[in-house]
């Protein structure tokens, strides 16, 4: 009997991890991505492997997910992280007032912390603002935003998944209200085709509304872009965060010989054609320099925007443009929510939780298809990212 065929639409980190999980469970997988893999939102983030500490106080559900995945990813993708850790730095009395809540929140979420005096912090990270009052070390780490997910793609491909970048879904095939496949266009050749499947997964991140609309359903996702700034020079070796409730420009992440300052937040309806508001870029310089003074005089390498997929009502959640919405993820079985069989959406989440998002989705997919196979992605060590390129037949 042939294995069930699942189409994963969306070649970001979630799609890649999902293809990997499903293939390990014995399903046939085709992944379709309209551009290069990770060219949507995944490739654009600053590269932080979250410890979850940022969410420990306000979004503990997210925080717990993050620290668990932080540990798992280091185990299944060894050699893919700068494991220097991160610092949450207190600059003002207000920050110092927040410190006890922060430590308590981290402890409650199981995130290990180490309090450091200003002198201790400066010893391990000389790039810090010397006027800092205190710092807390957390197990943040740095990843390559594209190459870490690419290890999932490489492993999935090695195990038989069909990965098709530059192939865009132009419509869904339906029988009644059930989804039975997709129509697609290969952008490299211009050819159009149909592809049948037992189930299609919408893993398009902030674009998931567009694909959902093709099935006649809605998903409560709010695309929420933020500006990031890449500066020339490795101005710090550890991730440097501001010890306060989340705000603009409160993180500096080292990336090879660059330093990434982020980020801001607003909401849009169309995740393509994002603006890069100049005031936001200036805010990155200003706030980043409070943490790492060398930011102020560093040359700009690039300024860009990336859209987070935030789960929440469109047009709801008033001002603050998206910061109030949870950063957790959610699976939608459209047979249950909308009466559309054969269609599942996974959205929300963070780069750090890609494997967990995939596990939850694969559990749902297998339940719907009657496949009994446990998830093995916590243990299987991933292939090197280079295998994605060398493992393909020409």
């Amino acid at each position: 009997m042939d294995a069930p065929h699942v189409i994963v639409v969306g070649g970001g980190g979630t799609g890649g991890a999902l293809a990997h999980d499903l293939v390990l469970r014995g399903l046939a997988v085709t992944l379709l991505e309209r551009g290069e893999l990770t060219s949507g939102t995944t490739g654009r983030h600053h590269g932080l492997l979250h410890s979850g500490a940022r969410y420990a106080v306000n979004d503990p559900e997210s925080a717990v997910e993050c620290i668990a995945e932080n540990r798992i990813l280091r185990r299944i993708a060894p050699g893919s992280f700068e494991e220097n850790g991160g610092l949450f730095v207190a600059l003002t009395d207000e920050d110092m007032d927040y410190l006890p809540r922060f430590l308590a929140g981290c402890a409650a979420c199981g995130i290990p912390t180490r309090e450091l005096t200003a002198a201790e912090a400066l010893a391990v990270e000389p790039g810090l603002n010397p006027a800092l009052k205190a710092a807390v070390w957390v197990p943040d780490a740095t990843m390559d935003a594209m190459r870490l997910p690419l290890r999932f793609f490489a492993t999935a491909q090695r195990n038989g998944a069909q990965l098709r970048p530059f192939t865009e879904v132009t419509g869904l095939l339906t029988t009644g209200r059930a989804v039975t496949g997709v129509t697609l266009r290969d952008h490299l050749t211009g050819a159009e085709a149909e592809l049948a499947a037992d189930l299609a997964v919408n893993a398009t991140g902030p674009w998931c509304e567009c694909l959902a609309a093709m099935a006649g359903v809605t998903v409560p996702v709010q695309p929420s872009p933020g500006v990031l700034l890449a500066l020339v020079g490795r101005l710090c070796d550890l991730v440097v965060n501001r010890l306060h409730m989340a705000g603009d420009g409160d993180i500096v992440v080292p990336q090879r010989r660059l330093s990434i300052v982020g980020t801001s937040a607003w909401t849009v309806t169309d995740p393509d054609d994002l603006e890069v508001p100049h005031e936001h870029v200036l805010a990155m310089y200003r706030e980043g320099a409070k943490l790492v003074p060398a930011v102020a005089s560093a040359a700009e390498r690039a300024a860009w925007s990336a859209a987070r997929p935030l789960i929440g009502a469109i047009g709801g959640a008033g001002g603050g443009g998206g910061r109030q919405l949870s950063r957790t993820f959610k699976c939608f079985d459209h047979a249950v929510t909308d009466g559309v069989e054969g269609f599942v959406t996974i959205t929300g989440g963070k780069a750090t939780t890609l494997r967990a998002m995939a596990e939850a989705t694969a559990d749902l997919v297998c339940a719907k298809l009657g496949v009994e196979a446990p998830c093995r992605t916590r243990e299987v060590v991933l292939a090197p990212h280079t295998a994605y390129y060398t493992g393909r037949a020409a």
Binding site: Q162, L163, R164, P165, F166, L188, T189, R392, A393, A394
Partner: protein, 131 residues
């Protein structure tokens, strides 16, 4: 799955890749010049042997040729020859040094030095040949 089509992503080449000047920097110019002077010197060496072989045909033939080679166009060629030889030699020294892993960080400075020496030698040769 991506299908690889055209082998090289460039228009039909009029010149081989190494000779294409678009967007290239100083180090490549030196490499190209070394190749061209090398080829030129090989051609010259062959011609030189052919010309020397006229000695076998006796003094009249040889003297006739020498008279020909006193013409201005050939004197100019001689200066060019000296320049080519000087460049290939001095840059060759630079390539030998750098290519053995010595003074690698100074390869541009060495090129400038070589170029200066080439200029001097050519100048002296021009004065002595033409004068």
């Amino acid at each position: 799955m991506m299908r690889a089509g055209l082998r090289r992503g460039d228009k039909r080449r009029l010149v081989p890749r190494w000779l294409d000047p678009h967007g290239r920097h100083l180090g490549t110019w030196a490499f190209v010049a070394n190749r061209l002077t090398g080829l030129g010197l090989v051609v010259y060496l062959y011609l030189h042997l052919v010309i020397l072989s006229t000695l076998l045909r006796g003094p009249e033939a040889w003297d006739g040729l020498v008279e020909l080679f006193r013409r201005p166009v050939f004197l100019a060629f001689d200066v060019l020859l000296v320049a080519g030889l000087a460049f290939h030699g001095f840059n060759g020294l630079r390539v030998a040094l750098v290519g053995s892993g010595l003074l690698v960080d100074r390869h541009k400075a060495l090129l400038v030095a070589a170029g200066t020496l080439v200029g001097l030698v050519t100048l002296v040769a021009a004065v002595r040949i033409v004068g």
